[in-house]
Subunit: 330 residues, 2 copies
């Protein structure tokens, strides 16, 4: 089993690589070759089989073909310019998120025209494909109405994924990740960053800025759940998907206020006091157009699982990122 | 008012040109320049103002910029590789229907970056953006689930149209045309051709082939209604559309059997006898995935109107195409 991970240096990518190495197999087939690609050189972990790390710029037309030269059986495509950056840099967002993905898909098709080749492709989409006007609970048949260029690019790639799969060029599955919380490390340029930082920073005794109101409701899953979604998607028989190849992942529907209450329960009042309210109209505007909750029964029926409370999400963070330690409390 | 029509040599394009020349203005502004473009040279009609006809291949990257060089105020983009052909020739369908449309949109954006320029863009989409599984009556919030590459390309262009409009690069409106019936002239490569030919051929005393069952239900509008949709879209204030720039046009929901009954009422039993049943599994399969009917209240609220019966649709054809004559009846 040869696996290619595009976006392997990212937060989810690195966790996915670790999980694959721990697990050692996919659907009972031993992993014997890994290619880890990203725009910055991914770390090369210890691995008994073949492992290759490459710098790959998806905005270059030749990158797709170069990446699949070794004909991987399974491709995880996680790489993307995030929402905030894609909104500011229109050309870059389209070049990477749309053209880069399309040239990967097209390279697979071209390889298959030479010699039969139909790898499994697991593509990470996003709930950013949905935007106002939306019902409070969004079903799997809701039309895609992105309100950002990032969401537009993801929605377009979902359509391409479905068409290339329908034509038999590869076996694709798109998973619409909830907003990942708690993201470890430093904030990135995503407008959703505060959802994580108002928990992450206080847990290590640092201040965090809350730019929106506590009534803001959204859809969340932990990084650990996201990696499990990807692994489950890789092993899933796609026949029951029919031609609808992209699925909204299950998640936790919660308000910012509920996040804060969970923080209070897990880390105490002093942690909560580290959250500084600093309303930001630009961020509030972007977030106002985002979905609040989903009916994810299709994903659940397919065996995808997520957390049930922000207490769980915080505990996952403390276990996976803080070696079970949180900041000293008064 | 300068107007560019891409796809001006096509059936709808030619009718649109005639209607524009008759009307002479759009939203009270006199039309003083027309550019008619298509993959084959469009006819040059008599016109008091400036008129230019050009051959334009949308699959070439420079075509978009060349077409908008004179900065038209209003652009009708009707050109497309039809569904049957786009399904057989994957590369050609994507090159024209996706890349051609995108390079037009991008050319407008680039022109606007040099000097303010935000034309109105009327884009013809299609109900082929919808495919099974579908409810019997499809609402305006139904997710796009194309089952053909053509439908995929139209759905992607709808997403691009919305994003470019949201960003203020142009003022776009996408109109999802019903299946046009009765198409005049010769059949094209569209899989939907029989919906027209089983009426068109018998009306002039010729045989027609029906490849599907009489219970097949679908969504129709006449060419005359389609031209009215385009003109209405061109004049419409797009503010009420919000970010959802594409709209399913109203149409007539009818079965093949109801088509035939209307033919019997208008042209008699001898006309009906000219329909030869010749089941074709490939066409039946394609059509089985198509939508059957829509709730088009959004379009209706915006003032779009269509026919109410196949009798009306047949009468439009007899008036517009047959100079009010139909074949001699026994």
């Amino acid at each position: 089993m040869k696996i290619l991970i595009i976006g392997a240096a990212g937060m989810i990518g690195r966790k996915l690589v670790r999980a694959l190495l721990t697990q050692g197999e996919i659907s009972g087939k031993a992993i014997n070759r890994l290619v880890l690609a990203d725009i910055t050189m991914p770390e090369k972990p210890e691995f008994a089989g073949e492992i290759e790390t490459v710098v790959a710029d998806l905005s270059l037309p030749e990158t797709g073909a170069a990446l699949i030269q070794s004909r991987p059986d399974l491709i995880f495509h996680l790489a993307a310019i995030v929402s905030g950056e894609a909104e500011v840099d229109f050309d870059k967002g389209y070049a990477v998120n749309l053209d880069g993905t399309r040239s990967l898909f097209e390279a697979i098709r071209q390889a298959g025209l030479k010699e039969p080749y139909t790898p499994k492709v697991v593509f990470t989409s996003s709930i950013a494909v949905f935007g106002e006007p939306l019902p409070e609970v969004i079903s799997d048949t809701q039309c895609l109405t992105p309100l950002t260029s990032y969401g537009t690019q993801k929605a377009i790639c979902e359509l391409l994924l479905a068409d290339y799969s329908r034509k038999g060029f590869f076996d694709g599955i798109g998973i619409r990740l909830p907003t990942i919380s708690i993201r470890p490390g430093k904030p990135n340029k995503a407008a959703s960053g505060f959802f994580s930082s108002i928990l992450r920073e206080p847990l290590i005794g640092q201040e965090a800025v809350l730019p929106v109101s506590e009534t803001v409701r959204h859809w969340f899953a932990s990084p650990r759940a996201a990696v499990k979604f990807l692994l489950h998607a890789a092993e899933l028989d796609t026949a029951p998907l029919g031609h609808q190849r992209s699925i909204t992942m299950p998640g936790l529907c919660a308000t910012v206020g509920e996040e804060i209450e969970a923080l209070r329960r897990v880390a105490g009042e002093d942690a909560v006091k580290l959250i500084r309210r600093e309303p930001n109209a630009a961020i509030a505007d972007i977030v106002a157009g985002w979905p609040q909750g989903f009916d994810a029964r299709r994903a659940e029926a397919l065996g995808f699982k997520s957390e049930n409370s922000f207490d769980d999400i915080i505990r996952v963070h403390i276990e996976d990122e803080l070696q079970n330690n949180i900041a000293e409390r008064a």
